[in-house]
Amino acid sequence: MKKVEAIIRPEKLNDVKQALDDLGFHGMNFIQVTGRGAQRGIVHQGRGGETVTVDMLPKVKVEVVVPDLAVERVIEAIVREARTGNIGDGKIFIIPVEEAVRVRTGERGEVAV
């Protein structure tokens, strides 16, 4: 199994979720993260007229554990949905998962996810 960690724009969350749903992956987690990268930050203004450039932007990390074979399809779906073509669209990382357990039943492995 692999954990697919996709850092995406918060606005794209619903689309990505829907696409994963369509692929049959209902289970996943969302985490609010603060991302930094080539995308320039947001410029806020301070009381004194100074510009406060916050170089970290709110992003959402979607974590979904999928069978090895599904990884490509998942990547493809996320890229399709989360893409705007602008800097700041985010990244996907694939991380190995050695075991998965369903707490409710104690089941192990791919059946658990």
């Binding site: 619903n14 995308q39 410029v43 806020h44 510009t51 450039t53 700041g88």
Partner: protein, 500 residues
Amino acid sequence: MREIAPKPPTHTVLTGETRRSGAGSPAVGQHSNQVEGVFVMENPIDTGNTAWMLTASAFVLLMTPGLGFFYGGLTRNKNVLATIMQSFITIGVVGVLWVVVGYSLAFGPDSGLGLIGNFDWIGLKGVGQEPGGPNGAVYGLGIPHLLFMAFQMMFAIITPALITGAFAERARFGPFLIFTAIWSLVVYVPVAHWVFAYDGWLSAFATNPETPDIGLNSLDFAGGLAIHVNAGVAALAAVLVFGKRKGYGSTPMEPHDVTMVVLGAALLWFGWFGFNAGSAGGATGQAVSALVNTNSAAAMAALTWTLLSWWFGGKPSVVGAAAGAVAGLVAVTPASGYVQPMESLAIGFGAGALCYFAVRLRARIKLDDSLDVVGVHGVGGVWGALATGLFAAASVSGISYADGLFNGHAQQMWDQSVGIVVVGAYSFIVTFVILKALDLIAGIRVSEDEEELGLDVTQHGERAYTPEEGGIPLAPGPVLPAPPVAYAAGTSAPTTAHAR
């Protein structure tokens, strides 16, 4: 021997809602102090009435930020500041416009036909510390003319702020500002003149007791017509022009902070005592009736909406309790100085139920009236105006002809209905035209990207809540590639010249 009478009881009574006289006194429309044969000239100001009207004015001012919190809590996190700002800055815009020109046009001597005032009082010229009004009539009960002006100013401020709920989460700030200024002068000011001014054609009172009253006698104690019907219908026009928010109907748009909604509702409720009881123009028995009716209707409506949301929605809703309270306050506004407490319970019950179902209907027909201005202020306002025509009792107000249908005065329902239709039609049409024109000229709606990023960041360059860890300012000079155009709204640095 001169008599001392610090509180001349025969000052003409006139305020948000007007009374022909104190209690059957014949002296109307003239600054007379003759009391049962004794002539009294000392101190025309009644400190008690002035104290109450000062207080009431402050209370009503607090309602506008209160509304900002009520609305702001209902929006999503990313739009809360923009929403609160739309209320807050309205105090600025209308607060200035009103003293400069608005009051004169709304309450200054009529320029004919009862349609609008004239420019006599521009810059508050002649509006002073003495009681005063148009053509020798006097607004308020032994209070400075300036105080009546201030009290009315608070009404003028909150009315356009009410509309903002209709286009929350999608309006550009600049055009919004212009809209508020224009609407205030072109819609609110004339309607206020019709309904509240002595010489307005819908108002129940004539400045000169000898001449017959012109037009109709719409009873509107504290602004059900001029404020809530007016704003509610304008909101409908706004919803139609603005269109739906992106994702409306498919993405849930839950209130981001319900405690803020309740805070707003609490401040509104509190301020509404000034709104309604202040409309008596002084600390009178009628003011007391208004206060009691206000509380009773709000309590009943809050309870009603809560129970209906329980019955039809599965659980008693806290947002529902707050919305219900506001609906009750809206509906009792035109009636508050004319009805008995038991009747205000009926008005509150009706408001809770009608507005609840109106909002359900709105949700079903997918009209994106973001914060339910039409359902609450429009429907509540219409119900309140009609209910005034049903329940008004001359005994409460001391105005002989202020009786409703149930007290044998069927004509009143007609006058109320005409008032609703005329104010509604005028407000709808003019609002629609203003917004359409602004949209053509400047564009009233933010771009899709801005809508997604949220108005706080894109319109105001601020975010409401900043978590613990901040960011560090970029090194001076753009080391990182410029932001893409699509997101420039939220990311572009101001031009260097201005920036530092």
